[in-house]
């Protein structure tokens, strides 16, 4: 098979075929000797030449992460014939969302809708695992909308407020 692999933003062209237990591999045109054993789900024992690696795979929210040694890589595998690209929201000067970084409970709101906030000013306090964390404004501006109230439970990724 032929695929485009994106590793932390850099793209590779990978050609990989398996026949009778043997792998044929070409990475950006370089031919490499590859041998792989899936030791258990999400754990791959990989040999490239005679170098040996244990690769761990982890799905985090909507991303696939592979660990090589102590390093983690965000990975994307695409069919080069597919025209679909992943639309990424670019850097935006407009309204910014305030996201809950972990599941927890909103214990305090430090601002009201319409308040002016500085970059880094506390907007809400979320408590999880007995630890209170201040969620800070991602930009200087005005609190356009608050979506939560004190006492409610939130999940990681939930939008708490919008600052414009």
């Amino acid at each position: 098979m032929l695929c485009d692999v994106t590793i932390d933003g850099r793209s590779y062209r990978l050609e990989l075929n398996r026949a009778e237990g043997r792998w044929a591999c070409r990475l950006d045109g370089r031919e490499l000797e590859v041998d792989a054993v899936l030791a258990r789900p999400d754990v791959l024992s990989l040999r490239i030449g005679n170098s040996a690696y244990e690769i761990k795979s982890e799905r985090v929210a909507d991303e696939l992460h592979l660990w090589v040694g102590r390093r983690r890589f965000a990975v994307e595998v695409r069919d080069p014939r597919s025209l679909r690209g992943r639309g990424r929201a670019g850097v935006d000067d407009g309204p910014k969302k305030l996201i809950a970084p972990m599941p927890g409970r909103v214990v305090r709101l430090l601002v009201r809708e319409g308040d002016a906030v500085e970059l880094g000013a506390g907007v809400a306090v979320v408590e999880a695992m007995k630890m209170q964390n201040e969620i800070k404004s991602p930009k200087q501006g005005r609190v356009q909308k608050i979506f939560v109230s004190e006492g409610v439970a939130v999940n990681a990724g939930d939008v708490l407020a919008i600052v414009d």
Partner: protein, 503 residues
């Protein structure tokens, strides 16, 4: 000896105590809240009783419910672990009243030590060196300002009933005092049900060194050497080691003797820890006594060869200490890492969730006390401590080398952990030189991380990604079509298409 012990706790410490029970031929009874039915301590127990909702106040902190389980199960003793009810004198008294042995000190000893302000008063009398400050809670903002002005900024606000950094604030100026006092009070009230807050002079960048003591119920008290606990974040210990690199035999003896005096002044029994602040001239000041087993007790166990939980149980059963002070020998070096469910890339925010993959280290000189397992959902209702990894070696260097090696083997997938933080600490030049103080971690985290550059790793990841995709599609094809042929491009793209669709 006891026949059955109730463990009034959860997580790794419940498992630790349960193991000691089984080693001693004692049945282990556990309790669990609604979100802990699948917890490891329940899986390993001989008997398990539900005690209510996730909120600790309605389960692990609920004295009547726990005593009811003791009665129904016929347990003859209760081990409280650390945290929760472990330093609650009312609970110790309620156990005594119910005829169940509390494995720990008496309610009276706990009361003398449990409140940090009362402990200070007792220590003043016993002639134990103290950090300047108030020996009672401050009543008003005005009083706080007066005290702070007298002893000089910076000052530390502390919850009288506190521990674990809750209700604690470092105050640099009178401007900060008002809001910090309120915050410390409300946090103390929330965490401990007691809003009393007192003031101490803040010793800048001290070391935090503590002395383990053990006292039987026949008047024998010994010290088991110190633990260096200077590596902290938000006043939470992160790495502990024994012995302390700056404590020599003579200093150990002096600290140990003060610790024994502290314990004896309160007629203390069972295991306890006397905490000291140590300044740059190696002067030590009594900070507080923790009237329970400490999280970091394994480092002491490794360098003394003693099992503190076994000894706690024997002492509670009325046995005499099986050794004297001169028999206690410190051998080798041990370092503990507290593995927390925290996201290092997001300011170490808690990161609960499901553990999708768990690879655990083992091998020479490695001990792992863990409360997690693969497939387990880490609840968001409790402390984020998942496990403790402890390395032991003939000396500090070997302990560091083994721990570093073991951290490389440790992998927790699906949630974020602070494992990478320990790799950074252990290779830090200052850490290796044992230049430790309580400001160490904050300073280290401010420095940018030196990436150990491995240019080839990204190539390896690219190949691995492709291999995973091929194997995935082969699996899909195998189960879907009943065919054994490696998948062609078509099904591969079905798989990755499905993956795309999930985004």
């Amino acid at each position: 000896m006891f026949k059955k012990i109730l463990i009034a706790n959860r997580g790794e410490i419940a498992v630790r105590v349960l193991r000691a029970c089984h080693e001693m031929g004692i049945a282990a009874v556990v309790v669990y809240s609604d979100v802990d039915r699948a917890a490891l301590h329940v899986r390993k127990a001989d008997e398990a009783y539900p005690i209510g909702p996730a909120a600790a106040t309605e389960s692990y902190l609920n004295i009547p419910k726990i005593l009811d389980v003791a009665r129904r199960s016929g347990a003859d003793a209760i081990h409280p672990g650390y945290g929760f009810l472990s330093e609650n004198a009312k609970f110790a008294q309620a156990c005594a009243d119910a005829g169940v042995k509390f494995i720990g000190p008496t309610a009276a000893a706990m009361e003398a030590m449990g409140s940090k302000t009362r402990a200070r008063q007792a220590m003043e009398k016993a002639g134990v060196p103290l950090v300047p400050g108030t020996s009672r809670g401050v009543e008003s903002q005005q009083e706080a300002e007066e005290v702070a002005a007298r002893i000089g900024y910076p000052v530390m606000l502390k919850a009288a009933a506190g521990g674990g950094g809750k209700g604690m604030r470092l105050v640099h100026s009178v401007d900060q005092l008002k809001s910090f006092l309120e915050a410390a009070r409300s946090e103390a009230q929330r965490s401990f049900g007691d809003g009393e807050v007192y003031i101490e002079k803040a010793i800048v960048n001290p070391r935090h060194i503590e002395m383990q003591v053990l006292a039987d119920e026949h008047g024998n008290t010994v010290y088991l050497g110190e633990r260096e606990c200077s590596l902290q974040r938000r006043h939470q210990k992160v790495v502990e080691e024994a012995p302390s690199p700056i404590v020599d035999a003579e200093m150990r003896r002096r600290m140990g003797e003060v610790a024994v005096r502290v314990a004896q002044s309160a007629a203390y029994t069972n295991a306890g820890t006397v905490e000291f602040l140590v300044d740059q001239e190696r002067n030590f000041y009594f900070l507080e006594m923790n009237t329970r087993l400490q999280v970091e007790h394994p480092v002491t166990e490794l360098v003394t060869g003693l099992d503190l939980v076994h000894l706690q149980i024997r002492i509670a059963a009325g046995e005499k200490l099986p050794f004297a002070q001169q028999d206690v020998q410190i051998r080798g070096h041990a370092i503990e890492c507290r593995i927390y469910a925290e996201d290092p890339d997001n300011n170490y925010f808690p990161s609960p969730g499901k553990i999708t993959l768990l690879l655990s280290p083992s091998g020479p000189g490695i001990r792992r006390d863990s409360g997690m397992y693969e497939g387990w959902q880490v609840p968001l209702d409790y402390d984020p401590l998942l496990a403790k990894l402890i390395g032991y070696g003939a000396d500090r260097e070997q302990a560091i080398a083994r721990l570093t090696r073991a951290l490389g083997e440790y992998f927790v997938g699906g949630i974020k952990t602070n494992i990478s933080l320990f790799r950074r600490i252990l290779r830090d030049a200052e850490f290796r030189a044992a230049k430790l103080d309580t400001g160490f971690l904050d300073r280290m985290l401010k420095r940018s991380e030196d990436e150990d550059g491995d240019a080839g790793a990204a190539d390896v990841a690219a190949i691995a990604a492709g291999v995973f995709a091929v194997l995935d599609s082969a699996k899909t094809a195998g189960s879907g079509n009943g065919g054994s042929e490696p998948a062609g491009a078509h099904s591969t793209w079905k798989t990755s298409g499905r993956r795309e669709g999930l985004r």
